[in-house]
């Protein structure tokens, strides 16, 4: 055992028991899992505390934190409790095709702010919470990178 704490979607999760793990391809994180009845291929991709485990084709984000990392993270959360503005960012690179957000306007949670076309699909970026539009950082026809700031909500 180790002092690692495992979390999925921010809930602590116990470790499955009775399984063995064999690395088939370390470079790509391919592992073979066995429990004495069946075997399955899986993937473990990640760095440090942040891992993505792929089971039956589904990616599951898992954090594996040490005691030291947990203490530091708690201190970090305490420092952030003075909530500031919310940044709405692009989750995919693409082309801005429409901007519904207007500077200074109030928006409700779920309201469309920006439409981005990526991989042939038009995706509407919606407000994650109610608020007021402080900044509109993009305009139609503008290509945006993944993570680019679109709108700042107050």
């Amino acid at each position: 055992m180790s002092d690692l704490e495992l979390r999925i979607a921010d809930r602590p999760v116990d470790l499955a028991e009775g399984w063995t793990l064999t690395w088939l391809d370390r470079e790509h994180g391919v592992v073979l899992l066995r429990d004495g009845r069946e075997s399955k291929l899986a993937l473990a991709e990640g760095v440090g505390a942040d891992w993505v485990v792929t089971l039956d084709g589904r990616r599951i984000a898992v954090t594996a934190t040490t005691w030291r990392e947990r203490v530091l993270a708690e201190a970090d959360v305490a420092a952030r409790t003075h909530a500031g503005p919310t940044e709405v960012r692009a989750t995919l690179p693409g082309l801005v095709v429409a901007v519904a957000a207007v500077r200074g306007a109030a928006v409700g949670e779920g309201e469309a702010l920006v439409t981005i076309e990526a991989m042939k699909m038009q995706n509407e970026v919606r407000a994650p919470r109610a608020g007021r539009v402080a900044t509109v950082a993009v305009s139609p026809g503008q290509p945006v990178a993944s993570g680019a700031l679109l709108v700042l909500l107050e």
Partner: protein, 504 residues
């Protein structure tokens, strides 16, 4: 056999470019790939005899540029162009420009592309030929008359782009209130995608199955109807899984469908490959949807049951060859299923995802075919369709094909990005799909965003992450391999180093 052409340019990318190149290699034809700047390192470029750059990453300036493609063909001395699917494959303007340059277009005549590319005109022609069409308008909607037209057609209704295809410019309308926003959205998407915002309306048939007939014709008037494909597993009106034969058709229904498909093809001058799409209602009646004048993504399903190479035949009939009796009279054998592997998150509305492939393990062995456009560590250009690969199986019966597909999907492993593999692995055990009892609402009604991660899987994932973090911390690198991650001669040493790592 004398090659039908000396050199052929493939005006496409990804798996279909590789598929066409394989047919060319087998026919003795030299291949010319084209690539945008985003694709310089892509698989299809490496697989071709010659490669021509056609422009920057955006498709509008590369794979959709008639001028750039024709110039590349002329530069490389190609005698023919295969357009693949998507991009310019159904563009009459492209076909005309190709032929004007003295190059053979591997597809139906340009006038046929034009006639059938107008989905509204095609609806009218089909109806005139006596083929049942999906109830709806046969003229374009305008903002003023839309409310009246939709009230006549009935709700829910489906707005569709006259220049459309592939689900783009399509919007569902539930009630009169929804008309203005849906019409605006459909027009905007259609105009952006096709340069034509013309919209018409069809009644939304539900439950319905999507079944299509493969046609293959030569330049001498011979036309083969090569059986049907069932394509009802869809998201966003785009196909995910196809099979042949359709579990929904009786032999009589099958023959009626083939007859209707021939009637539709008879309304235009036709040769090469095309597909006539129909909806099947709960009573087994069929309604013409549209005719696609190109190779379909899912053509391999028909190849498996007929034993024919459709792409090779496209090229041969384009060169003037006659279809022999063996093709015209071919009898399908067994059952084939195709699943499409997409870089999409099926747990989040099948949203396309960006990134880079990590691990890439495809199935093999008896009755399994893989057509892939990427491999391990391939980057995924965000500009293009997120289709990664198609896995096809063939077996002597539908249950055996499903068993084979389950086995194949268990062998499949893709790292780096979420794909629809998790959905597909669910699907092949879904009782309705297994029984052959499903329609186009399957994904929306039975999957949604999929079940939550099972508690057992969460614990297993936690175990894997635990071991992975420990292994990442615990394995010191032997000094000798430290500077040599990409030198072949260091492989053995590194492998040996890995074997010494502790196992649990």
């Amino acid at each position: 056999m004398q090659p039908p052409f000396r050199r052929l340019l493939i005006a496409n990318r990804g798996e279909i470019a590789l598929r066409v190149m394989r047919a060319c290699r087998e026919l003795g034809i030299e291949t010319v790939a084209v690539y945008s700047d985003a694709d310089a390192d892509s698989l299809h470029v490496a697989a071709a005899d010659l490669a021509e750059r056609i422009g920057p990453a955006p498709a509008a300036e590369s794979y959709l540029s008639v001028e750039a493609l024709v110039a590349a063909a002329e530069r490389s001395g190609a005698e023919a162009i295969h357009p693949g699917y998507g991009f310019l494959s159904e563009s009459a303007a492209f076909a005309r420009a190709v032929e004007a340059a003295g190059i053979v277009f591997v597809g139906p005549p340009a006038e046929t592309l034009a006639a059938l590319g107008d989905k509204l005109a095609a609806r009218r022609s089909a109806a005139n030929a006596g083929v049942p069409i999906v109830p709806g308008t046969t003229i374009a909607l305008d903002e003023g008359g839309a409310a009246r037209d939709l009230a006549e057609v009935g709700f829910p209704a489906l707005l569709k782009a006259a220049a459309g295809g592939g689900g783009r410019g399509m919007r569902r309308v539930e009630d009169p209130e929804g008309i203005p926003s849906a019409l605006a959205a459909a027009r905007r998407e259609a105009a952006a995608a096709f340069g034509d915002g013309t919209i018409y309306v069809e009644r939304l048939l539900a439950p319905a199955r999507h079944v299509e007939v493969q046609l293959l014709g030569d330049r001498h008037g011979n036309l083969a109807a090569l059986g049907e494909r069932e394509c009802s597993v869809q998201r966003r009106h785009q196909k995910l899984v196809e099979e042949s034969p359709s579990p929904a058709l009786t032999q009589a229904g099958r023959e009626a469908l083939a007859g209707s498909a021939r009637l539709v093809a008879g309304t235009v001058p036709f040769h090469n490959a095309a597909t006539v799409e129909f909806l099947l209602d709960a009573d087994g009646r069929h309604y013409f949807l549209e005719m696609n004048t190109r190779l379909q993504v899912e053509h391999g399903v028909t190849e498996l049951v007929t034993g024919l190479d459709l792409v090779a035949w496209q090229i041969r009939v384009a060169a003037g060859e006659r279809l022999p009796a063996e093709v015209l009279r071919v009898q399908p054998r067994g059952h084939a299923i195709e699943v499409r592997l997409y870089a999409e998150d099926p747990h989040d509305g099948f949203r396309p995802v960006a990134g880079s492939i990590g691990a890439w393990r495809m199935p093999s062995g008896p009755g399994v075919r893989v057509d892939a456009g990427v491999t391990a560590d391939s980057p995924l250009p965000v500009e293009y369709d997120p289709l990664l690969a198609k896995v096809l199986v063939h077996a002597d019966s539908r249950p055996a094909a499903i068993a084979r597909l389950r086995r194949a999907l268990e062998e499949t492993l893709i790292g780096g990005v979420q794909t629809d593999l998790s959905f597909l692995r669910w699907l092949v055990h879904e009782p309705g799909f297994v029984a052959g009892d499903y329609d186009t609402d399957l994904v929306a009604e039975r999957w949604g965003d999929g079940p939550p991660v099972a508690a057992d899987d969460e614990r297993l994932a936690a175990f894997v992450a635990h071991e992975a973090r420990l292994a990442a911390t615990a394995v010191p690198q032997p000094a000798s391999t430290a500077a040599a991650p990409d030198r072949p001669w260091a492989r053995a040493a590194r492998r040996d180093g890995l074997r010494r790592a502790p196992r649990r």
